[in-house]
């Protein structure tokens, strides 16, 4: 069983609204899978179905080989769940919550408290362990939330928008922690996000979801290269632009650029930059400045949906 998360034709309706409309997922063991989409795209609804919190309107799904509808109690034993907005009780302390979570997972006494200490250490909350969660910062809450989802060493971890609303430093720290978990224990991670950078940085493979439908799926680099070639912009003395264009035409078609620049869509991607520079150098054309703009996941999103994700207005829950 090398796909701990499998979903086929997943559908969820709320009355007339179809929140998730036939989602297929195959997440491989040890993979960090990113589920990228704007608010309301169906990310959280999908995660809630996979984590047994919501019934399926149609389709089927297995997590760690167990059917989420027929064997939800077994699924709950093998998954770790950190849902949107750090779902934790503010009047308890970090240590108390870890203890509670351990008991719910059947871990008791000494083992539970050792495990709690270890997790607090791991997410850097040892000093704050006996403070009430209400006094924690947003980043600390998320880290505690992550620790809570790990008490039973889950095989599969679901993180629903783990860094939404966090500052860049806290976001980095959380990414670091997720990577470390994935490296050390081979934990399979499904993470939803509306941040392009997060998907790009963290996920080995991503699915872009919009309107309840997966519109693109693959490795981030592969998806980006499918959108088109990166744009190479070169600052060259204008008197030699014609010569330069002649040479550059063999590397890709010309693209619009400011007057002092020449730009092409570099076919074959970034690997060919050196080649370009060498051929220009051979004809002693001097390049004073160079820029290579790879297509971003936002370009992928735009190509798939006709809209931009970056800076999209936040509307409603995902």
């Amino acid at each position: 069983m090398d796909h701990p998360i499998v979903a086929e034709g997943l559908v969820r309706r709320f009355g007339d609204l179809v929140a998730v409309d036939g989602v297929d997922l195959h997440v491989a063991r040890g993979e960090i899978f990113g589920f990228l989409g704007p608010n309301g795209a169906g990310k959280s609804t999908t995660v809630r179905m996979l984590t047994t919190l919501l019934s399926l309107s149609a389709g089927s799904a297995t997590v760690a080989g167990y059917d989420v509808e027929r064997e939800p109690h077994i699924v709950r034993r093998v998954i770790g769940v950190a849902l949107q907005e750090a779902a934790i009780d503010p009047i308890m302390t970090g240590r108390e919550l870890l203890k509670l979570q351990s008991v719910l997972h059947g871990i008791k006494g000494r083992v539970a408290s050792d495990r709690g200490d270890e997790l607090l250490e791991r997410v850097g909350l040892t000093a704050a362990a006996d403070r009430r969660v209400g006094t924690y910062s947003g980043g600390m809450k998320r880290r505690l939330d992550l620790a809570l989802s790990l008490v039973h060493e889950p095989e599969v971890l679901f993180l629903d928008e783990p860094t939404t609303g966090l500052d860049p430093t806290s976001r980095q720290a959380l990414w670091e922690e997720v990577r470390r978990l994935n490296d050390e224990f081979g934990t399979t991670v499904l993470l939803t996000t509306q941040y392009l950078e997060e998907a790009d940085q963290l996920a080995g493979r991503i699915a872009i979801i919009d309107g309840g439908v997966i519109v693109r799926e693959g490795e981030p680099d592969q998806l980006k290269s499918e959108v088109g070639s990166p744009t190479l912009r070169l600052d060259i003395d204008p008197s030699r632009h014609d010569e330069a264009r002649a040479i550059l035409s063999q590397y890709g078609e010309s693209r619009p650029a400011r007057s002092e620049r020449v730009a092409i869509g570099l076919e074959g991607g970034a690997a060919r930059v050196a080649e370009v520079v060498r051929s220009l150098d051979e004809t002693s054309i001097e390049v004073t400045h160079m820029e290579l703009d790879a297509p971003s996941l936002d370009d992928v999103f735009a190509e798939a949906t006709g809209r931009r994700l970056e800076g999209a207005a936040e509307t409603g829950a995902g």
Binding site: R48, T51, T52, L53, L54, S55, H73, I74, R76, R77, I79, V81, L83, Q84, E85, A86, A87, I88, D89, P90, I91, M92, E96, K99, L100, Q101, V103, L104, H105, G106, K108, R132, L148
Partner: protein
């Protein structure tokens, strides 16, 4: 073992109860009013209507204050008990409830555990109110056995009201809705024999009060307070409270089950 064995039921209900007790202890704003207002009402009623005991046909009792002991305790218990629903709704609003539901835990112990804080609060209220009222001059004829029965009725009744408020919370997911239903129990106490013997009022009040379960319960506990220990009175009061608990708990469980499918 997947959270359905008896041992894990007990462990899960226990850990939830501990959390619920902590929640009560750490949030005095939830229960402080329930200690103050019933005693205030009791003092006002005793002062204003103290002489109603002289009415012909008023049940045999040494003072109106003694007559009010069960009413004061039940009022306090109902005042405090909706916090179970409030806590449930808060957990649903902030998502903590999902964290609990995503754990390998049977649903019944989750509900039962949440009633722990309420039950502890109800016991404390009962002991405190009894002590205050006895010091103020009320008598308590039931003795230790009567007090134990009174405590049991309070704990069960607190849990029952708590279960009802949790059912509302699970149905609506809203703290406001839970608070909105709160006056129902207040009304039930006023529409019972708590403050006045219905048989003396006659009319619609007597009809309503005589079918109000709160009346049956109050009458049982009042017999313990006024006349002394009797197994029959204790059974009546405990039986009504326990039946209400079973009824409301099954409502809450149904609400929980349907909330999982919505």
């Amino acid at each position: 073992m997947h959270g359905t064995g008896v041992a894990s039921w007990i462990a899960h209900a226990g850990v939830m109860a501990r959390r619920s007790v902590r929640g009560v202890v750490r949030q005095p704003q939830l229960w402080a009013p329930s200690l103050v207002f019933p005693l205030f009402f009791c003092a006002v009623s005793a002062a204003a209507f103290g002489r109603t005991t002289n009415l012909p046909g008023f049940p045999e009792v040494d003072s109106f204050l003694t007559f009010l002991v069960p009413a004061t305790i039940m009022q306090g218990v109902m005042f405090g008990a909706t916090s179970a629903g409030t806590e449930q709704a808060i957990d649903m609003e902030n998502g903590f409830n999902d964290r609990l539901l995503a754990a390998p835990v049977a649903r019944v112990p989750l509900l039962l555990g949440r009633l722990g804080g309420i039950m502890v609060l109800s016991v404390v209220q009962t002991l405190l109110f009894t002590a205050v009222l006895v010091i103020a001059g009320a008598s308590f004829a039931g003795g230790v056995a009567g007090l134990v029965a009174m405590v049991a009725v309070s704990a069960l009744m607190g849990a029952a009201v708590g279960a009802f408020s949790m059912a509302i919370a699970l149905k609506t997911g809203s703290v406001e809705a839970v608070n909105g239903f709160f006056p129902i129990f207040f009304a039930l106490v006023f529409l019972s024999s708590a403050f006045f013997p219905p048989e003396l009022s006659g009319g619609w009040f007597e009809s309503v009060a005589s079918v109000n379960p709160v009346t049956w319960m109050i009458d049982g506990t009042r017999d313990l307070v006024v006349q002394g220990w009797s197994l029959q009175a204790a059974f009546r009061a405990v039986g009504v409270a326990a039946s209400l608990l079973v009824l409301f708990l099954s409502l809450a469980l149904r609400a929980l089950r349907s909330s999982l499918r919505s």
